[in-house]
């Protein structure tokens, strides 16, 4: 019984029951498949998060985003006059997370690649591009670079899915893919 000491003093020499062995082999094989799937996907899959990241001061990141916006703003939207920025394909694109805003609005071209840089100027945030459902943690002090190739035109919402204080649920941004 599981409430009493094992019958055999040397319990680790007991034979194992057949179905246990079979199950362990099956389960272990599946674990190996799961493991190998990840490197496999790194080589053959199209959705891998790059691990390119840098430490950066919030002010420095903000300055880079501002410079991009100054150069490529095509119009302004919403009451708050948020710039809509249309950087050339292949370029470095900056998306700032701060309480409680994703800044600026981006306009990207379908099937073109961009280097998307994200960082937070204050607390932690969660980049959640909807409805494609791409979710990445955003930390202050770290700049993450993702290589993205949007392959479907549309208007995407950028939701914040890391709790960032009382305005968390108002933190919504936008990406246009045309």
């Amino acid at each position: 019984m599981s409430l009493t000491p094992p019958n055999q003093m040397i319990w680790w020499k007991e034979p194992i029951h057949r179905i246990e062995v079979t199950w362990i082999i099956l389960a272990l094989s599946w674990c190996l498949v799961l493991f190998l799937w990840m490197p496999y996907w790194h080589v053959f899959g199209d959705q891998n998060l790059s691990s390119e990241s840098y430490r950066i001061k919030p002010e420095a990141f903000e300055a880079k985003a501002k410079a991009m916006a100054d150069q490529y703003t095509v119009r302004k939207e919403t009451k708050m006059e948020i710039p809509v920025v249309k950087p050339p394909p292949g370029s470095d694109v900056y998306l700032v997370a701060r309480l409680w805003q994703w800044w600026p609005i981006l306009e990207l071209e379908k099937d073109k690649s961009y280097r998307l840089h994200i960082s937070s100027l204050d607390w932690q945030h969660g980049l959640s591009i909807q409805p494609v459902n791409i979710n990445v943690q955003v930390l202050p002090g770290y700049e993450v670079v993702m290589n993205i190739t949007p392959n479907q035109a549309g208007e995407y919402g950028v939701v914040c899915n890391e709790f960032c204080g009382i305005g968390h649920h108002t933190m919504l941004g936008k990406i246009y893919v045309k």
Binding site: L3, T4, N48, N133, Q152, K174
Partner: protein, 578 residues
């Protein structure tokens, strides 16, 4: 001076030491208090996330959610686990507890610490979620409360280890410790590691909150915090698996199919979970892909393997025992004829099924490096862990409580008719909550979010109608689960107060921690705990037959494979990322 400190429970044959018994009761009762608080908060949270109800204001919602996570995941579970440790050492090994006075100090620290952080929540300036990611600040008493609680729990762990040493030295048992105690030892070892990791990050964070340290790196915080946060889930798993084995033994006299496999699986938990904190960091900055893959899989999948083994051997042990009793027809007569009307059994078995089929599968799938991209921080995540901790751990603890009320507290369970249904009501509600949170999460709905209609945002975004509808159904499920949880608290506390006394010495106060009347303690030193007797010889090949369990395991594996590849397919529909 021979003082009689033990009593023998006439119903179960278990021996309870006077002080250990009081410690067990005190921890269990306080745990249930936190379950009640946390459950009420869970109800409010679920009713707010249901779009049709949207009960609380934003501020109240975030505070309630922070308090829900803390009270129920940390305080309910760990208080109860401390009771389990005293049970698995003092009671199962028939041994006096080591330094009971220090055990009480540990209890007091846990009580004070947990109260402090609840006070911090009530003051309203610490609504940072129980993960308290820096640099979002909480009040110092929040961190201090967590630290004191952890120190108290650490003390409890050492009293447990000390008790094992005494048991060994005084030879209160023959041979190796029972499997259930072995599982508790594993839980305790992991707890010590967990608390060390927690201390390494919470102490500096506390100092930061009072202004003595300037800056805590958010990435490092997450690494260490999840060193605690993830490993502590492995404590829960070890503890509730130990309880599964215990209940299988109590109700069926089941013995493990083989000691070696079950114990080896427990050991895998210790060996391979440390860096499983990686699966919380799969979409974090500053970590290389190979670090993520290695730690999320090599380290984690062997712990996963361990759970898959227990998932076979626990029902397998029950099947073997049932077949021996003559339930040999077909694949599943042993299961059909199990005592489904007994909440100790139904709670345990539902816990096992939901933990494995839903909690386990979703956990591994979202712990796959790339698949995490479509799941991280969506409401899928709470869907997953309500299957693991709210059904897996919590329901297993509820089930064993139905056993402990008569045995430990010496009270009859009140309202047995309701008690019979309680595990089903709770599970049904939880299943709705879980499945629909999983579904809505797959459609991108964020967790910890007050308004997925974004009424107050500068821009607009509309989630799919089906996602909103699913959140509504999840809310209904949450309400039903809360009813099931409340029934449990009502029955448990009600039994301690109003239940028929099974022992002359069981008074109202002894229900909540004070020892029972002296007349109950009649044993000076229990007999030595003997080894499990050898099986009465029979056709031994037949004695360990568990075909039905094996078929269940194959169904499980097939669901696992299918669900994994569905998600891989979904992943491939995303934008290209490189």
């Amino acid at each position: 001076m021979a003082v009689k400190m033990f009593r023998k429970c006439p119903d179960s044959g278990l021996y309870f030491h006077k002080t250990a018994e009081s410690l067990m009761k005190a921890h269990a009762v306080l745990g249930v208090v936190y379950l009640l608080i946390g459950g009420v908060l869970g109800l409010l949270v679920a009713a707010t996330r249901a779009p049709g109800i949207h009960l609380l204001s934003a501020e109240a919602f975030y505070t309630a959610l922070t308090a829900h996570g803390t009270a129920i995941l940390i305080y309910w579970i760990i208080f109860f686990e401390m009771a389990v440790l005293y049970f698995a050492s003092s009671t199962l090994l028939r041994c006096r507890p080591a330094t009971p006075g220090i055990g009480w100090i540990g209890f007091l620290l846990m009580l004070i610490g947990s109260t402090m952080s609840m006070v911090a929540f009530a003051r309203g300036n610490s609504s940072v979620m129980f993960t308290s990611y820096v640099p979002m600040p909480a009040e110092p008493i929040f961190y201090l409360g967590l630290i004191l609680f952890a120190v108290g729990a650490l003390i409890g762990c050492f009293v447990f280890l000390g008790t094992l040493v005494i048991a060994k030295r005084e030879q209160t048992y023959d041979g190796s410790v029972p499997l259930v105690t072995f599982g508790a030892i594993v839980a305790c070892v992991i707890a010590v590691f967990t608390i060390a990791s927690g201390a390494a990050i919470l102490l500096p964070t506390f100092l930061w909150s009072v202004g003595l340290i300037n800056n805590i790196d958010p990435a490092i915080y997450r690494l260490f915090w999840w060193g605690m946060g993830h490993s502590s889930q492995q404590i829960n798993v070890s503890a509730h698996v130990a309880i599964w084995y215990a209940i299988a033994a109590i109700l069926f006299g089941a013995k493990p199919m083989s000691e070696k496999v079950s114990r080896g699986a427990f050991l895998l938990y210790i060996l391979f979970l440390q860096l499983a904190s990686a699966h919380h960091l799969l979409v974090d900055a500053g970590l290389s892909a190979s670090w993520k893959v290695f730690n999320t899989s090599y380290a984690m999948y062997l712990a996963v393997l361990a759970s898959m083994i227990h998932g076979l051997t626990v029902p397998g042990a029950i099947e073997v025992a049932q077949r021996k009793k003559g339930y040999t027809n077909g694949l599943f007569e042993w299961l059909r004829k199990a005592p489904w009307g007994n909440p100790v059994f139904s709670g345990m078995f539902l816990s096992l099924i939901v933990f494995g089929f839903i909690g386990g599968i979703t956990g591994v799938v979202m712990g796959t490096e790339q698949i995490n991209l479509i799941i991280h921080n969506t409401i899928f995540v709470p869907g997953h862990f309500h299957a693991t901790v709210a059904v897996g751990t919590t329901l297993a603890f509820m089930a064993i409580t139905y056993f402990l009320i008569p045995v430990l507290f010496r009270r009859e369970v009140i309202m047995p008719g309701l008690a019979k249904w309680q595990p089903y009501i709770f599970t049904a509600g939880m299943l709705l909550l879980i499945l629909f949170m999983l579904g809505a999460g797959t459609l991108g709905v964020p967790r910890r979010h007050w308004d997925i209609n974004f009424a107050d945002a500068a821009m607009q975004y509309q989630f799919a109608g089906s996602a909103i509808a699913m959140m509504g159904v999840a809310g209904m499920g949450g309400i039903l689960a809360a009813v099931g949880g409340a029934l449990f608290c009502l029955i448990a506390v009600g039994s301690l107060v109003f239940g028929k006394r099974l022992d002359q010495g069981a008074s109202l106060f002894s229900s909540f921690g004070l020892p029972m009347a002296d007349s109950s303690y009649t044993v000076e030193r229990p007999d030595r705990l003997e080894r499990t007797p050898v099986e009465s010889s029979g056709s031994s090949g037949h004695a360990v037959e568990a075909k039905g369990t094996f078929v269940l395991a194959l169904v499980f594996l097939a669901s696992f494979v299918v669900y994994f590849f569905i998600n891989a397919k979904y992943l491939s529909s995303l934008w290209k990322l490189g």
